[in-house]
């Protein structure tokens, strides 16, 4: 059903939305795609649908598995967490569980579909805004670049086209889709429409752990590996306003959009299309290298390669910080079953692998010193003077993030 005002030609409509939605808090920055009335209603519906599935239905599965099945099995000397694959198969006999899975997939697909609808009519206006901010930051695209197989084998998160889809010169589409969907995906819990909670939390981790370095010699060159559209990169640049900030990712359309988005926020960032496993920056170029929610989307081979690349890129004394989803804190049987669902039905092929990977061990193997892994409570705005809260106490995703950090030793 079209909600287009009948008196208005289609091409002018986005311009009009840019006026009427100027004060809309869900837009957060000038490059955010515009939404028509019914599209916004669909986006709200997707959040409501996910709330129903994850907050009303899913707790029942946790009760079933962790409070009923697991204790019963324990009494018979069996471990539900080990047998999660069998349990998952047997749950296929439960109509409500089959329905839950089908509906989870449907909600995710509808999120991407409804967002893409908004992006497609917004693109001309977004291209105009991009051009108006062309001077700030930079983007280097490599037409020869091939994204690694672990990112192209399936569309991660079921996002049609994955991270790498690109329609050639000037294309912003995949970036705009990712940006508009992110707040729906996180149900607003990653810093609302800015999605910068993780970026601030990484900055806070640096302030918490490396306070004296921050006071004496704050990072002058920072790299964000797997930056997508720069959600976290912008927050880093804002917390280290004097630093030269770089971001790399595999998707050309993501990176063009990332530059335009950062620039529209008045932030200069240098984006380039390359693999975090091997970049073209000089040895020792950076004072700080970070990644945010990237390692679990790589592979058992790529994760150690990325650690080694961080080591190469840092100057002696430089800091590496990886933020991850707190995958491992919850070893319950339900979390295993849920992890399997995430892997197979939300297209996260390395999710289970990442649950089993000792990232801190990989950092130490790559040569890092003072390696620490733990939980950093989320902050909306990082504060160098705040009392450190980095802790070994786990917590749920969005409330805390799992951090792995270390220093490249002085030679």
């Amino acid at each position: 059903m079209s909600t287009m005002p009948k008196t208005m030609p289609k091409t002018e409509f986005a311009t009009d939305l840019s006026v009427t939605q100027a004060g809309d808090p869900s837009r957060a920055h000038p490059m955010m795609p515009f939404t028509r009335h019914d599209e916004a209603a669909r986006h709200a519906h997707v959040v409501a649908f996910k709330n129903f599935l994850m907050r009303q239905l899913e707790p029942r599965w946790r009760t079933l598995i962790d409070e009923k099945v697991a204790p019963q099995m324990a009494q018979s000397g069996r471990d539900a967490a080990t047998e999660y694959r069998e349990l998952e198969k047997n749950l296929g006999t439960v109509p409500a569980y089959r329905a839950w899975q089908t509906l989870m997939v449907a909600a995710q697909d509808e999120m991407w579909r409804s967002v893409t609808e908004s992006v497609d009519h917004s693109l001309p206006e977004l291209q105009r805004i991009e051009a108006a901010n062309a001077a700030l930051g930079s983007v280097r695209i490599n037409p020869e670049f091939k994204a690694p197989r672990y990112l192209t084998a399936v569309d991660i998160h079921r996002m049609p086209g994955g991270y790498h889809a690109d329609q050639g010169e000037g294309d912003l589409r995949q970036g705009a889709i990712f940006d508009k969907a992110a707040a729906l995906y996180h149900m607003g819990r990653n810093g609302g429409a800015m999605n910068d909670l993780r970026g601030h939390t990484i900055a806070q981790h640096f302030f918490d752990r490396f306070e004296s370095m921050n006071a004496e010699n704050p990072p002058k060159r920072i790299l964000d590996l797997g930056c997508t559209v720069g959600h976290s990169t912008v927050a880093l640049a804002q917390n280290f306003p004097h630093a030269e900030v770089h971001g790399v990712d595999v998707g050309a359309a993501l990176l063009r959009y990332a530059r335009a988005r950062s620039a529209s926020l008045g932030v200069s960032i240098h984006y380039s299309q390359q693999s975090a496993e091997r970049t073209d920056f000089a040895d020792g170029y950076f004072d700080m290298v970070v990644s945010s929610a990237v390692l679990h989307e790589t592979s058992a081979k790529a994760a150690p390669a990325i650690m080694r690349e961080c080591w190469r890129l840092l100057r002696p004394g430089g800091v590496m910080i990886h933020l991850e989803v707190p995958l491992r804190f919850d070893a319950s049987a339900w979390n295993r079953v849920r992890g399997w669902f995430e892997s197979v039905h939300n297209n996260e092929p390395f999710w289970i692998g990442a649950q089993k990977t000792d990232f801190a061990g990989l950092a130490a193997q790559a040569g890092f010193a003072e390696v620490c892994a733990g939980y950093q409570p989320s902050v909306r705005q990082a504060d160098p003077t705040a009392i450190p809260r980095f802790t070994s106490t786990p917590g749920p995703v969005h409330v805390v993030w799992y951090m792995i950090s270390g220093i490249k030793p002085q030679a």
Binding site: T3, M4, P5, T7, M8, D16, L17, T20, Q21, G23, D24, S26, R36, H37, D38, A41, R42, A44, H45, V47, A48, F49, F52, Q56, L57, R60, T63, L64, K68, V69, Q72, R78, E86, L87, K89, N90, L91, G92, V94, A96, Y97, R98, A99, Q101, T102, V105, E110, R149, Y150, A153, A300, K301, A302, S343, V344, H345, P349, F350, G353, K356
Partner: protein, 125 residues
Amino acid sequence: MTTDRNDSSPESEGLIFEPGATARIHGSQPDIAMLLRMVAALTEEVNVLRTRLDTHERLAEAGHAPTPLSVESHVPSPEVVAERIAEGEALIARVMHSVVEDADGLLQDEQRIRALWQDSQRGDS
């Protein structure tokens, strides 16, 4: 973790499925899955209509005629958006009540619960 296999196997990468493999929901029947998706889509249409109605009422309350342009120009406050999400969730819960009921029934049914793990050794059938 197995790393000594053929270099490019998904297992050697810690990936859990082959490229292109279609995920299967155990026990799911294609026609039922299709129907579920249709019900979900229809529920969305009802919710979108309700939101539009809500916008009309808010406009009328503020003394504006609900025209296509005034509806498009209406920017709900974050509080209103949050309210609409909560109402949407309640609507979905009413439509999908039978799913919740089946889950609750299972939680009360010791026999069905035991069947979930006592049969575990048999695996996929």
